[in-house]
């Protein structure tokens, strides 16, 4: 019962955020300088083929000659009834444009997250358990160095070494399992530094906390103290960091997609923004906002399950 209420509020928030994101996308695309119909026509027919007749045809056929508020209201009404329309550029259904690309993004993103966890958690735990030691300093330096390298540089480096020089892995694409390794590795390396510092901080704080020291004083074994006493508090900052990680992933994915020629949601968004493909941008914006909202809500729930203080605080608030 305790989870239903916050879940409801989170869903309501998500719906409002999605609406706000879609509205902002629409307003931004309308406010950008240049002729919207011309951008759509250029993307649709190619710049070399662009002519005045086709620009006017696009303007009329896509309804871009109607008042802006009417266009917005039409779109909102359509979305409310479950229709998000067709891409202005390709004239294909918007969901058919987005779905396969979202799958690529989530697949590589998920793998990247796993890589980042595989790198960051051991490094963060090791550093946190030996806070102030050489190992801790080395881990901090490595994280700082990795964080300072842009993901596309890292990706390009992996390509040159592992694909071009050693021929171990394919340069690009997403049609075989092997082709997903380099982008996942690059993404994981981009996400790992921040996560490792959060893990390190959580572990170090929990290890130095009075309850851990008291447990050790009582004669509880080191491993039991680590996992039974300090483990759960150490997990809290890591879980709380997941929405930030998801944001970083969305920000960094465009570069990864470009370098590894992945046909994902990031490159679709960039292309659609440049082409002013309003239905695609608005729908993708809504989906991404909802995904972030889901991550945030899931994190909230996980935090309540892990941290009894949050459960108690919610129960007290409910009673009051």
């Amino acid at each position: 019962m305790g989870l239903i209420r916050p879940l409801f509020w989170r869903l309501l928030q998500a719906a409002l955020v999605a609406l706000a994101v879609a509205t902002l996308c629409f307003a931004a695309l309308q406010a950008m300088p240049g002729d919207l119909a011309l951008r759509v026509a250029a993307a649709r027919y190619g710049e070399d083929q662009l002519g005045n007749a086709m620009i006017d045809e696009v303007r009329h056929a896509a309804g871009l000659d109607r008042p802006v508020l009417v266009q917005y209201a039409d779109w909102l009404g359509a979305v409310a009834t479950g229709r998000v329309g067709r891409s202005l550029v390709t004239e294909q259904p918007v969901l058919a444009e987005i779905a396969p690309r979202l799958r690529v993004t989530l697949l590589v993103g998920g793998l990247g997250m796993l890589v980042s966890l595989a790198l960051a958690v051991p490094a963060g735990v090791a550093a946190g358990c030996t806070a102030g030691s050489r190992l801790d300093h080395a881990a901090a330096s490595a994280a700082a160095a990795l964080a300072s390298v842009p993901s596309f540089v890292l990706g390009s480096l992996f390509v040159v070494v592992l694909a071009v020089r050693l021929h171990w892995l394919p340069v690009a694409g997403s049609d075989t399992a092997a082709s997903l390794i380099l982008p996942a590795l690059a993404l994981g390396c981009a996400l790992a530094p921040g996560l490792s510092r959060v893990v390190r901080h959580g572990v170090a704080t929990a290890a130095a906390a009075p309850y851990t020291r008291f447990a050790l004083m009582r004669g509880v074994g080191r491993w039991r103290a680590a996992f039974g006493v300090a483990g759960r508090p150490a997990l809290v900052p890591m879980l709380a960091y997941f929405p930030v990680l998801a944001m970083q992933f969305l920000e960094g994915f465009v570069a990864i997609e470009l370098v590894f020629n992945l046909d994902g949601i990031g490159s679709l968004l960039v292309r659609s923004l440049l082409a002013r493909d309003i239905p695609v941008v608005m729908t993708a914006g809504i989906l991404l906002a909802l995904m972030l909202a889901v991550v945030t809500a899931t994190t909230d729930i996980a935090l309540r399950l892990v941290d009894p203080r949050l459960r108690d605080a919610a129960a007290r608030a409910h009673q009051a």
Binding site: E47, P100, V164, A177
Partner: protein
């Protein structure tokens, strides 16, 4: 003790997290020609992506062009114009679609009717009537004599698809065409797999299977060429082409084509109204330096609008465009532009300055713009470089905000450059060129050219057109494009030909080494 990780162990460790993706089996290494180019197949409509279908030998138009510029019949076996110079009849081949059905004149008429208002070149044909005249003849009647009509029918928007390729609303949904290759799979927008079409009307391709991959980033294309993951890699950045060549992994084919990097100006602005100013700006540009240092391809330096490859449109007798700073300064002084503060010339209180839109999409453009900025500065002309999306230029032309821009423009949208010269220099509403250029003499020559059916009478008209463009400089050519491709050692080098008209990759002619 050194820690050694074998390739097998490394791969095993790396593949572990990707197990979910393994549900799709890896492709076997069969003899598939892997073609890599920048363009995505993001729509099944030939108006938008017909050029990919045609380049890969999947789709065909009525008429095509050979690399030497000679028009050839593709779906049209032959054509003729009546003595009235208005009525054309195109006799179709006995060709089949990839679904086995026969190509009819009614299909072709329907295709052209659907696309002709939307495609730049086709929309320029003054069509009075377009219909099937029997099963195998297409009739096109124009309102005025239009001699380059067959050339215009090479427009890729006119790629003919089978009736089964369209949905109930008449929208193309599947690439069921007529070319020597038929599509076998389109997994996403970046890959087209094709196999030789057994019922093709012409010569059968030597390589039975192809795979087209769109790779947007130039560096990634170059890496694929170097890693041996592509057999033919098109459109490489100059530095990348050099790096591939140095690595010895794939020889590079190069060709200077009629795609021109040029500067456009708003000729309605007082700075550019005077032709002497335009000539001075042209004389300020170090084209050889740009071609050598930035483009790494010396033959790219433009000496006139169109390159020597277009023999009919290149006039070796024209005085070449070149850098001559003293002459540039003399022309500006003659035009009344006098030295002002900070070295910028001034006339009637107006500074000789302008903003320059520079498309950020092409990596060489910002560098070229900076070089030109420095070169113009030497004659007292200040430009402010403004990076912008490439399609910002037509917006600026239409709303009148354009001052100058650096752009790339192909003059072979159809094989006859008149298809681009007409809208760019002889129309009232240009999209891609300098607004405000009106030359009644040039318009009359262009009109005469279009109405001239006697081939022998065309060369002098071409010469007149290029002479006016070289003299009046409505646009200032800077460099021609280098069309290039990296060819892997799996492919016989002598079987690969670059098409200067960019209409075809000529895949059916390729063979394994």
């Amino acid at each position: 003790m050194s820690l050694r990780i074998s390739r097998r162990r490394f791969l095993a460790a790396a593949v572990l997290p990707t197990l979910p993706a393994l549900v799709r089996p890896a492709r076997t290494a069969e003899a598939v020609l892997r073609v890599v180019a920048p363009w995505e197949y993001d729509s099944p409509d030939p108006i938008e992506t017909g050029y990919i279908l045609r380049r890969m030998g999947i789709g065909e138009t009525l008429v095509g062009v050979q690399p030497d510029g000679k028009l050839i019949g593709l779906l049209a076996q032959s054509w003729a114009v009546d003595p009235d110079h208005l009525t054309w009849r195109f006799r179709l081949r006995d060709a089949r679609y990839h679904d086995g059905t026969t190509v009819t004149a009614a299909d072709v008429a329907k295709t052209l009717q659907r696309v002709r208002s939307k495609a730049e070149s086709l929309s320029a044909i003054p069509v009075a009537e377009l219909r099937a005249d029997g099963e195998r003849t297409l009739l096109i009647r124009t309102t005025t004599p239009f001699a380059p009509l067959p050339s215009y029918l090479t427009d890729y928007a006119g790629v003919v698809l089978a009736p089964s390729a369209y949905d109930a609303d008449g929208r193309p949904q599947r690439p069921i065409a007529t070319g020597p290759y038929r599509v076998t799979a389109v997994p996403g927008t970046r890959t087209i797999e094709a196999a030789a079409f057994a019922d093709y009307w012409g010569a059968k391709p030597s390589i039975p299977r192809t795979r087209y991959t769109a790779v947007v980033l130039g560096d990634t294309r170059a890496s694929m060429a170097q890693a041996g993951e592509a057999d033919i890699t098109f459109t490489l950045l100059p530095q990348a082409a050099q790096a591939i060549e140095r690595s010895g992994t794939a020889p590079i084919l190069r060709l200077t084509i009629p795609r021109v990097r040029m500067m456009t100006m708003n000729l309605r602005l007082p700075q550019f109204t005077d032709v002497r100013v335009r000539r001075a700006l042209s004389l300020a540009i170090d084209r050889t330096g740009i071609a050598n240092a930035i483009l790494h391809h010396p033959p790219s330096a433009a000496t006139q609008l169109l390159p020597p490859l277009l023999t009919g449109w290149y006039d070796p007798a024209l005085p070449p465009l070149k850098q001559d700073l003293p002459e540039a300064k003399r022309l500006l002084a003659e035009a009344g532009w006098l030295p002002g503060p900070e070295g910028i010339l001034v006339k009637d209180g107006q500074k000789l300055q302008a903003s320059m839109l520079v498309p950020a999409k092409r990596p060489e453009f910002p560098v070229m713009a900076q070089a030109m900025q420095a070169q113009f500065r030497e004659i007292g002309f200040a430009i402010e470089v403004r990076p912008a999306p490439s399609n910002a230029l037509p917006s600026a032309v239409r709303d009148g905000s354009l001052q100058t821009a650096l752009l790339a423009r192909t003059y072979v949208n159809v094989p006859d450059p008149i298809g681009t010269i007409l809208p760019d220099f002889a129309s009232d509403h240009p999209v891609w060129t300098s607004p405000g250029f009106v030359d009644p003499g040039l318009r009359a020559i262009v009109r005469r050219y279009i109405e001239t059916f006697d081939e022998a009478a065309l060369p002098p008209l071409r010469k007149q057109i290029v002479t006016v463009l070289q003299d009046q400089l409505p646009v200032i050519p800077v460099s021609w494009f280098e069309h290039n491709a990296a060819v892997s050692n799996r492919v016989a080098m002598d079987s690969v030909t670059l098409d200067p008209f960019e209409q075809s990759y000529l895949v059916p002619a390729m063979r394994w080494a």
